[in-house]
Amino acid sequence: MSDIYLIFKNLTRKPLRLFLTCFAIMVAFLIFGVVTTLKDALNSGIELSADNRLVVVNSINFTQPLPYAYVNKVKAIEGVKDVVHMNWFGGYYQEPANQLVTMAVDPENYLKVYEEVVLSDAERDSWFRNQRGMLIGRAIADAYGWKVGDIIPMSSNIFSNREGGHTWEMEVSGIFDGRDEQFGTNFAVFHYKYFMETQTFGGDWVGWLTLTTDDPALNEQVAKTIDEEFANSEAQTDTSTEKAFNKAFIEQIGNIGLMIFGIVFTAFFTILLVVGNTMILAVRERTGEIATLKTLGFTAKRIFTMILAESMLLAFIGGLAGLGLAYMIVEGAKAFLAQFLPGLVLSDTVALQAVGFMALLGLVTGLVPAINAYKLNIVTAFSRR
């Protein structure tokens, strides 16, 4: 027998209470794990954005177009490495409800700017050659069961085809993966040229530009040069880093961070209350036993440590169960949600944070009863009965 055995016996003396308390803790960490992972997935665009990537949009709003001529003008600016222009297609498959993020791009430059889009050389070359070819992400391929070589009717909720209707036939040239697990593969890209030649609006315009700089240190200078270059043109530009652009976009949805914080905070607060009270009660019920241990010669410090260890153990049993459950739920939902909310991964950071909170929870809930036990006077404890 050792102190650990004593701690374990104390913890398990009321199995129902132990179960209920662990369950409450599990719930808190389940919420923490899942909700924080959701937030991370929403923010993955910010986290994964490349340091040296800039986005050039129309200064009125990013939904307003830019003249095609800007592509080469931007390319000529010092410090710019590669530039790709992109157009929002407003894609859907068969029903307007089945929206697919689809963009018309300049293929070669696209793959230069977005190095995290990974596909085989053969698929890449076949896409370059096939003007009706498109690349689809793994998430889309999985969701719709599309394979390389399939001919897919892609519809647009904005544009019309010169041949009539809103649908374009495209061939799946390749299926790409992300270099990073968190990288969302829930989109498709196809040839800008094909798009421009077949849609009814006509014109020489692009949606926006994405470029890479030679060095992240040049970002600010390059952005300034671009915006100054077009300051007196018909369409003024607004150039920002990809990170800032993505961040501003997420913030359009609302203050998600505050909401997540609110949920997690209240969940922890509630559980803290429940567990803290239970620990105080559990230790108070043992007043006589603690006095006996002290009489036998157990030091106050040793008893203090034992109670703190007990609350720590409680927090970790419940907490790890909750974290494990959160992991299983995230893994289970990952495939299902890949199309709408890519990048759903319970990261090491979240797990580490959770472990930190477990330690904190154990410390906070154990501290008061541990101090009570530390200070417990043998004489008064016995005379109270």
Binding site: M1, S2, D3, Y5, L6, K9, N10, T12, R13, G288, E289, T292, L293, K294, T295, L296, G297, F298, T299, A300, K301, I378, V379, R385
Partner: protein
């Protein structure tokens, strides 16, 4: 003062405050306990007998005066030193046994050994010896709630002697037991005193329990009213 004296109390004062009142329990108490003694302390409630026992056991401190154990002061020890001193020298036996309800008899007996550096094997041997002595070897794996009051008190005695302390302090050890069981327990204490040389101090209000002791002191209002000549 000879080596024969285990406890020596000199001019012990003890008072405590309850609300605005200060209650004096001892006002200059002198007392000596010899090694190998079996002393019963009797007295009405409020006479200070439990407080005296607590001071002997180092769980309570005198307001002033000296308490010497084996020639050295214990009233000046710190809380932590006292814990260690209790673990090494004193075995306690309580009225309500005070066993840990979630531990088996053997583990209850083993508790004080957690405070020693004994090896696992030595601890096991000591526990077995102690349980055998109180005739409960066959109940080693039982929980307290599975045992009668008398059996529980025997487990408590085994716990008190397992680390081989010099002194056993018993607070109404038979207070919760029927006559027959009480006699068994008292015989056991007598055995420990006579055969194993344990010094025993027992607080009781039961005169027939006190008969088992070598001598009896009557405490009233903090003073011994009828001193034994042997003292």
């Amino acid at each position: 003062m000879t080596d024969n004296i285990l406890f020596d109390l000199k001019g012990v004062h003890k008072s405590f405050t309850r609300g605005k009142e200060t209650i004096k329990i001892f006002d200059g108490l002198d007392m000596q306990i010899k090694k190998g003694d079996f002393l019963a302390i009797m007295g009405p409630s409020g006479s200070g007998k439990t407080t005296l026992l607590n001071m002997l056991g180092g769980v309570d401190q005198p307001t002033s005066g000296e308490v010497l154990f084996d020639g050295s002061r214990v009233d000046t020890l710190s809380e932590g030193q006292l814990s260690k001193w209790r673990a090494n020298n004193i075995g306690f036996i309580f009225q309500f046994y005070n066993l840990m309800p979630m531990l088996s008899a053997a583990r209850n007996v083993e508790l004080p050994l957690l405070l020693t550096n004994l090896s696992k094997k030595d601890r096991k041997n000591s526990v077995e010896t102690a349980l055998k002595l109180v005739e409960l070897a066959d109940r080693a794996s039982h929980l307290p709630k599975e045992m009668s009051g008398g059996q529980q008190q025997r487990v408590a005695i085994a716990r008190a002697i397992v680390s081989d302390p010099k002194l056993l302090l018993c607070d109404e050890p038979t207070g919760d037991l029927d006559r027959h069981t009480a006699d068994e327990i008292l015989e056991m204490l007598q055995l420990l005193n006579e055969k194993f040389g344990k010094t025993i101090v027992m607080v009781t209000h039961d005169p027939s329990a006190a008969k088992y002791a070598k001598r009896t002191l009557h405490l009233d209002k903090g003073e011994f009213v009828e001193k034994d000549l042997a003292a």
